[in-house]
Symmetry: C2
Subunit: 178 residues, 2 copies
DNA sequence: ACCTGAACACCGTTCAAGT
DNA sequence: ACCTGAACACCGTTCAAGT
């Protein structure tokens, strides 16, 4: 508040006259930031490929505008960030032949998976220096609990981009049976 | 800090002699809380059913111990909470016939999906009163953008428990083809 | 209508001084 | 070895007083 006021060349208390509270101020900032986000785009030739494009695009956009996402999260307005993609996704699900409640479940399953991935990856990156990743925990855990090859693979860690693409692909296999 | 000190019948500054910082204190609290969590259990008869049981169990456990989860999240130690389930899940994936890197991808896809769902649902519940859900945004959005039946379904909202079960089921369909 | 300074009730933290 | 009070540098916010 004091920093913002200084930048505006005004006393901290003036901000309260204009915005009422810190939260209200941040809310207006977020609204502007959200308006400036680009529209989701999908140019591929099949509905399924366009779904992947939209999902990946949302993930990339959030990664590229992390401060916006953190602010939205803090203000409990994360839903707004994903809404344009949700609408575009709904259109593709309808294009793939699904209707009504069935279509809605598919739209939501995809969006929850994408959104969940984003939050989870984000949480990993904000990891406190001293804390352990599950990767490190697999090292600690003596062998023998699971198959040796699996153990080694778990100890190696993952590329989250690859995992995201894999998970989305398999989910779509389940959601849109040939 | 001051509250904790009062409860311990000591000056706030004494806490710093024992723990060093607020973060270190909370870290030790979290370690104890995590130790007290029950082991993941899976009693069903097929690997796939046990996977569903483990995933659902983790979700339920987190919901039942939300303060622990929030603390783990704040301290960047969310990974630890899911680790026992991750090991149990790895065992089931191996039991279903997968090995090495393929198995690891499947374990991670499931765990990321479950973890993501948990974080996302949690974020929705912590929604700020004034903020809009996508459900409300669908109402705002005039009709015509998508199929009318789908629009109505999106306006109705979801039971996240049902959506979770559905998504997990479809993901497993994709991950463990018959 | 807009801005101000003084002040309040909080934070986490440091540190010299005590026993 | 453990505890203390005083103090620092922060927060968000209220409010009476100014112009």
């Amino acid at each position: 508040m004091r920093k913002v006021a200084t930048m505006a060349g005004v006393a901290p208390t003036s901000v309260y006259w204009h915005f009422g509270s810190r939260e209200a101020l941040l809310g207006e900032v977020l609204t502007v930031l959200i308006e400036d986000l680009p529209e989701p785009q999908a140019r591929s030739r099949t509905p399924r490929k366009r779904m992947v494009e939209l999902a990946t695009g949302l993930r990339d956009q959030v990664a590229a505008t992390q401060p916006v996402q953190e602010l939205a999260l803090e203000l409990g307005r994360a839903a707004e960030l994903s809404f344009p993609t949700q609408v575009a996704l709904a259109r593709e699900v309808a294009a793939s032949g699904l209707r009504g409640d069935d279509a809605a479940m598919v739209v939501r399953a995809i969006l929850f998976t994408v959104g969940g991935f984003i939050l989870l990856t984000d949480n990993f990156e904000q990891r406190v220096p001293g804390s352990e990743t599950t990767q490190e925990l697999w090292h600690t855990q003596g062998g023998g609990a699971v198959d040796a090859g699996l153990q080694r693979a778990m100890e190696r860690g993952v590329d989250t981009d690859v995992l995201f693409a894999f998970t989305l692909d398999k989910l779509l296999d389940g959601l849109l049976p040939a």
